[in-house]
């Protein structure tokens, strides 16, 4: 079992570094930052990484299909803008509808027209960011109490972020490991031509992947907006690259076919701990941005691909 887990051809993509990185970070932070190992800070870490975890799980689904989605950040911002702008009764369905539309457009561009996923999602990301600024040009606005309760109300004395994480993890795991859709997705991502010759449909599942990914961004947007209790048209700006960094740290192959839910959880924890650690050590937020870039470079360097280029 262990041998299979670490073997080069494993489908989970979890390697020694994937596990060792968050563990060593945890140990180092426990010793260097005195306030790290407190219940309050650990709760903070949990809150901070919830949105990233939800988005990264969506990104995982797209990555397994062999694509990538840079538009998640803009979708998250759009959700936030929608929540504070429109009538509270319709904001959630409206955000979900927007997510479905965005995902379908991304999916159609990639699966039917064969546009490179990065170009396609970069274009839609720009469009949606513009739309977001049109809906709500400046940060502010009030979040309806019913939505605020989604991130503040306690159930059985537990943090609501725990339920969000558990729900997202369970859904994603069921979809990828316990459904025919998941199996076909791995086949498609590993080799689309082989999968297609073996009777796996290509277009439908790939469009579904992008829709699911956009919906994960909507969910993360609802959680994040509820937690900060106000709208912000650029709240999601960093999430596109952050989620890619997280899944790359989690051993997911961006070329498709390799990746797992536990790997993504480990990747998100690594990134979350790195951010939290730099926070505690008083590193400037802009250097933190640079550090994310560095981490991303390191993470993609771990995955040698066959081809050079995009």
């Amino acid at each position: 079992m262990i041998g299979r887990l670490f073997s080069r051809t494993s489908r989970s993509g979890i390697g020694i570094i994937t596990i060792a990185l968050p563990l060593s970070m945890f140990v180092i932070l426990s010793f260097t930052a005195s306030s790290f190992f407190t219940a309050q800070n650990l709760g903070n870490v949990g809150n901070q990484i919830t949105a990233l975890l939800i988005v990264s799980l969506g990104q995982l689904i797209v990555a397994i299909s062999g694509g990538v989605d840079l538009s998640v950040g803009s979708m998250l911002s759009l959700t936030s803008a929608i929540i504070v702008t429109f009538d509270p009764a319709i904001v959630v369905p409206l955000a979900i509808a927007a997510g479905c539309v965005l995902g379908t457009v991304n999916g159609i561009g990639v699966a039917i027209f064969g546009v490179h996923p990065l170009v396609m999602t970069l274009a839609t990301a720009t469009f949606v960011q513009g739309l977001t600024l049109l809906v709500s040009p400046v940060p502010g606005g009030v979040v309806a109490p019913a939505i605020e309760a989604l991130a503040h109300g306690r159930l059985f004395g537990l943090q609501p972020s725990l339920f969000w994480c558990a729900g997202a993890i369970l859904l994603c795991w069921l979809l990828l490991s316990r459904s025919a859709f998941g199996l076909r997705l791995y086949a498609l991502g590993a080799n689309p031509r082989n999968a297609s010759l073996n009777g796996v449909k290509v277009v439908g599942p790939i469009i579904t992947c992008y829709v699911l990914c956009s919906l994960s961004a909507v969910a993360a947007g609802i959680f994040l907006t509820a937690r900060v209790s106000t709208g912000d048209p650029t709240i999601g700006a960093a999430f596109g690259l952050d989620s890619i960094t997280a899944i790359a740290l989690g051993g997911v192959q961006l070329s498709g076919g390799v990746g797992s839910v536990p790997g993504v959880i480990l990747g998100v924890v690594t990134l979350g701990l790195a951010t939290n650690g730099m926070n505690l050590l008083g590193v400037s937020p802009f250097l933190r941005m640079a550090a994310t870039g560095l981490l991303l470079l390191g993470a993609v360097s771990l995955q040698r691909r066959k081809t050079i280029g995009v």
């Binding site: 990301a125 720009t126 513009g130 400037s284 691909r305 066959k306």
Partner: protein
């Protein structure tokens, strides 16, 4: 091959017309729009200003188009431009203007080499590598500017950015001076043919013994250097350093290259198409501003243009 020879002249003409970059038709449509609604934009003085304004983008587009020809991409332009602006104006680097400019060029070459190292040696995705590099550079520059705010630009760059030679601004002349040799080089030199071969079919190019890796390194260094030149022009226009410089350079250059007819995986497209597209985008933004549309609609249009152009080209190459 044979059946193309049999085709009638009309259908061949139609083929040539549809194979032209979208930028040509787009520019024409925009000029007609301007003629109908905002004729003032078409005055020689304003057109000259718009061309001048397009020059930095045009220079960056040369680099981006080189990258996309070999199936790569460079999204680190924003970070490079910020870095260059900081090197030139922060006063950290001692020495005269020549030293500053040399430092900026060295910085660009280093970034290009680093990008290429990750892309060629470690085979990482060029989008991710260059986006991460942009993030890294932007983060470092902003963090440093907290200690010392950027100051005035070197006089030489201000001169280039703001002066005219018998009525013609200097910046577009520099753009064309960079554009023409690159076009000639791509058409005539062995390296240019290698670049075309890689774009058409990387595996075949590698099998034929073309120095694939070396060319990717060269192209990425060149692309970063073009970004540096572009930043020189931008800093020259503004006259002083700014953290806003080149923020949308990467995305706009990507849009211009796609509109100009260079796409991944075809090895086709010239140098002129992207240059016209750079003018088209700049003209479009001016037109939008004259209609009173702000940043949000600009972003939406930019995104829609990239998506539609990319879809149009993909659909065309498929059939």
């Amino acid at each position: 091959m044979l059946d193309t020879a049999d085709r009638s002249r009309g259908s061949r003409l139609l083929n040539v017309a549809t194979a032209l970059p979208i930028a040509y038709a787009g520019t024409l449509i925009l000029l007609i729009c301007a003629y109908m609604f905002r004729p003032a934009l078409l005055s020689p003085l304003l057109l000259m200003l718009i061309i001048r304004q397009a020059a930095p983008l045009g220079v960056a587009v040369i680099g981006q188009s080189l990258c996309m020809r070999i199936l790569s991409i460079d999204l680190s332009f924003g970070g490079v431009a910020m870095g260059v602006s900081y090197i030139l104006t922060s006063g950290y680097v001692p020495g005269g203007e020549a030293v500053l400019i040399a430092c900026a060029l060295l910085f660009g070459a280093t970034v290009g080499l680093a990008n290429a190292f990750f892309i060629v040696r470690l085979r990482a995705s060029s989008v991710i590598v260059t986006l991460a590099m942009g993030l890294l550079l932007t983060g470092i520059v902003i963090a440093f500017s907290q200690f010392r705010a950027p100051g005035d630009a070197p006089a030489l760059l201000k001169y280039i950015g703001q002066s005219r030679i018998s009525g013609v601004p200097l910046a577009p002349l520099i753009w064309f001076a960079l554009l023409i040799p690159v076009a000639w080089f791509l058409k005539r030199s062995v390296l240019g043919h290698y670049i075309d071969a890689i774009g058409a079919n990387p595996r075949a190019a590698l099998a034929t013994g073309i120095p694939y890796g070396g060319i990717v390194v060269l192209v990425h260094v060149a692309s970063s250097l073009f970004a540096v030149f572009s930043a020189f022009l931008l800093v020259g226009f503004v006259g002083m350093g700014s953290l806003d410089i080149g923020r949308d350079l990467a995305l706009n250059s990507l849009a211009a290259v796609i509109l100009g007819g260079v796409t991944f995986g075809s090895g086709r497209g010239g140098v002129l198409g992207p240059a016209v597209a750079a003018f088209m985008l700049t003209f479009l933004f001016n037109l939008l501003t004259s209609f009173g549309l702000g940043e949000p609609s600009k972003l939406m249009l930019q995104g829609a243009i990239i998506a539609v152009a990319a879809i149009a080209y993909s659909a065309r190459t498929k059939t």
